[in-house]
């Protein structure tokens, strides 16, 4: 049985002052292989925590996570991660960064070079192979991060606001790239974002999380990702359903934020 299954995952951070934060409470999720899921929610609702648990960087306080039938413990090459920024290795060239996973596995040089070259072609960095990563723009760096993750052929790709640090134009191009890679590789992808439009465009499924305790508030199935593959994303946004969905979700998150503000105001 393939796919990623989360069953009643809870995460509680005990604070030094004796109180605690319930970052996640009974989060359950069932993803088929090759699904593209985007996650939205006001900040502090546990999105990063959820992703870190799936990646294996944090151990949940209760609940179970299974990938392709086995329970996960700790990080593993089967679950790749793309960070917002700062996760590339500055002391390596673009080529070495992308080849990092294969090198660690001891893949023969020739095979590795071929793979790296192929991936760099896909993400459009064929002319920057020997450059140092700090010489690249933010968008190019994220392409390297994507390629590095793909070079390892993970089953699941986890992305925590991967495009959050990019300017609007670069971001649009990168959104198309993510869709293209998803379609071509058939990976299971979980993508966290702050942008409602991005979540709509880059999610076959979209979950909206709510804070305190962190939980899944609402789930959608959307046609836009499928429509957006190889197409102009601006056209997709003109889809009749797109606008209403966006307004609906924006209002939902807006209400949650209001509630948080209200609570903190009452508390102080």
């Amino acid at each position: 049985m393939t796919g990623l299954v989360l069953t009643d995952v809870s995460m509680r951070f005990d604070l030094p002052n004796g109180t605690f934060v319930q970052a996640l409470e009974n989060v359950s999720l069932d993803m088929k292989a090759g699904e593209l899921l985007s996650v939205l929610g006001p900040s502090g609702c546990g999105k990063t925590t959820l992703l870190n648990i799936v990646a294996g960087f944090l151990a949940q306080t209760s609940g179970k996570i299974e990938l392709n039938g086995h329970e996960i413990h700790g990080p593993d090459a089967e679950r790749g991660m793309v960070f917002q920024k700062g996760a590339l290795f500055e002391w390596m060239s673009v080529r070495e960064n992308v080849g990092f996973g294969p090198s660690m596995k001891g893949m023969p040089r020739g095979e590795k070079t071929e793979k790296v070259d192929h991936l760099l072609d896909i993400v459009g960095l064929q002319d920057f192979k020997e450059k140092a990563v700090y010489e690249l723009s933010g968008g190019m760096q994220q392409r390297v991060a994507l390629a590095r993750c793909l070079a390892n052929e993970p089953d699941v790709i986890l992305m925590d606001e991967p495009l959050g640090a990019l300017d609007a134009l670069t971001r649009e191009k990168m959104q198309s790239l993510v869709l293209k890679l998803w379609k071509e590789t058939g990976k299971t992808i979980i993508l966290i974002t702050h942008s409602v439009e991005e979540a709509l465009l880059l999610g076959e499924r979209l979950i909206v999380m709510a804070p305190r305790p962190g939980r899944i508030h609402k789930e959608y199935r959307l046609p836009f990702a499928e429509l957006g593959v190889g197409a102009d994303l601006r056209e997709v946004k003109k889809h009749a359903e797109f606008g209403p969905r966006r307004e609906e979700i924006l209002a939902m998150i807006w209400d949650m934020e209001e509630e948080i503000m209200g609570r903190t105001e009452n508390a102080s």
């Binding site: 790749g80 700062g86 590339l88 290795f89 996973g101 660690m104 596995k105 390892n152």
Partner: protein
């Protein structure tokens, strides 16, 4: 007094050359991008060292040095007033038993390196006979004018005037090329005019230092050549630093990676860090003597804490995303150490190494000042004991140049080996 005068000249040259260079000379130079900025005050990037100022600054130091030491490298009219050398005269009036008589005193002021005897003079008439004396430049001399007189001090004669000006014990009369002060016992004390220049004993002119440099280079100093002295100092620094790095870097890594190591060594490192290595010199001498071992251990200790702390913060400073990314890419602990932690800490370690080399260089000189058979510090210490100011100055200049050279080399190495420094 002279110091104030030097300061005025220095400020004068500073301000004067500023106006000359910026308003006249550089007016004509081509404009670049920065010159188009309208806001430059407060914009640090618009502040670049003026190359003219740099050259003039060094030149000014040498010119002032030359002015106040009467350097032969400068034309005479630039010299500060020189001290008097040559022969001069004054008269004294002795009084005994109600009668007065004049005598002439001829004084030869001779350069210190040319020992000269007092000249023969005609005794003249009257009971006060003419006298002569020889005084070295920069010195003063009591002149027993009554010793050859027919009526001496023992017989009740006293000096009552110099060059016709009445004088009492403790008072001073200005005469040609100097001043005469009557001592409490009534003996004239002649102080030749000192001018504004520094006595070579305290500050030799640049060319003297240069000559001495050549001298020390060819003949060595205290049984060792100049290169051996400097080589010993450098050897100690490099040996001590390498040992310190060899122990300190792994220690710092361990402290950055293990709770137990961090807990165990934190108190020691945090305590030893603020102890200046100089404060350890006495203990090191007591324990290990003044030989090489003691010095290298001292420098080892100077470098150890700096390198340990640099390595520790290099490890702690790793962006956790990098470690997480490496884990998700399938790297083992050992591979993460080798490919992420170590390279990530190199910039910090290089910064630490630069600081450590600087501290070691300062410490070795200080340790050699205290006790050593050879070395740059020993050279200037021994030279100062024998008042060889030129060697002291030579030593200080060399120590500065080498310290600067070490720092430049470290920077260059940094550029080559960790080009990603500051780029994350």
């Amino acid at each position: 007094m002279t110091g104030l005068f030097v300061l005025f000249i220095y400020v004068g040259i500073f301000v004067g050359s500023f106006f000359v260079v910026t308003k006249v000379v550089q007016k004509a130079t081509p404009q670049d991008y920065t010159s188009l900025k309208t806001v430059t005050f407060g914009d640090e990037s618009a502040v670049r060292p003026n190359r003219f100022a740099g050259v003039l600054s060094i030149l000014t130091l040498f010119v002032i040095w030359g002015m106040f030491t009467g350097s032969s490298l400068l034309p005479r009219f630039l010299h500060a007033p020189a001290p008097f050398v040559g022969t001069t005269e004054f008269t004294y009036t002795a009084e005994a038993d109600g009668s007065q008589d004049d005598g002439t005193v001829t004084v030869v002021v001779y350069p210190r390196e040319v020992e000269t005897d007092a000249p023969e003079v005609d005794p003249g008439d009257g009971f006060a006979k003419n006298d002569s004396a020889a005084i070295a430049q920069w010195r003063t001399g009591l002149i027993r004018v009554d010793s050859n007189d027919e009526i001496g001090r023992g017989d009740g004669a006293t000096v009552v005037a110099i060059n016709g000006t009445p004088i009492a014990p403790g008072e001073t009369v200005q005469v040609d090329n100097g001043a005469v002060t009557l001592s409490d016992k009534g003996t004239p004390n002649f102080a030749p005019y000192r001018g504004w220049q520094m006595e070579p004993l305290y500050l030799p002119p640049p060319e003297e230092v240069w000559k001495r440099t050549m001298n020390v280079i060819s003949d060595g100093f205290r049984n060792f050549t100049l290169w051996q002295h400097l080589g010993y100092s450098l050897f100690r620094v490099i040996a001590g630093f390498l040992l310190g790095a060899l122990v300190g870097i792994p220690l710092g890594y361990a402290m950055g990676l293990s709770n137990w190591f961090r807990g165990w060594f934190d108190p020691i490192v945090e305590f030893m860090r603020p102890v200046p290595p100089l404060a350890l010199i006495p203990l090191v001498i007591i324990w290990f003597g003044i030989g090489e071992v003691g010095k290298i251990i001292l420098l080892f200790l100077a470098a150890l804490w700096i390198m340990a702390i640099a390595a520790r913060s290099g490890v702690s400073g790793v962006n956790i995303s990098k470690v997480h990314a490496a884990y998700s890419l399938g790297a083992s602990k050992w591979q993460i150490m080798r490919h992420v932690i170590v390279p990530n800490s190199l910039p910090e370690i290089f910064t630490g190494a630069r600081v450590a080399m600087g501290v070691c260089w300062g410490t070795v000189v200080a340790a050699e000042l205290v006790a050593a058979e050879q070395g740059a510090g020993m050279m200037i210490m021994v030279a100062s004991r024998f008042q060889n100011t030129d060697i002291v100055i030579l030593g200080i200049i060399l120590i500065g140049i080498i310290g600067f050279g070490i720092d430049m080399l470290m920077r260059q190495a940094e550029k080559w080996l960790v080009p990603w420094k500051g780029k994350a």
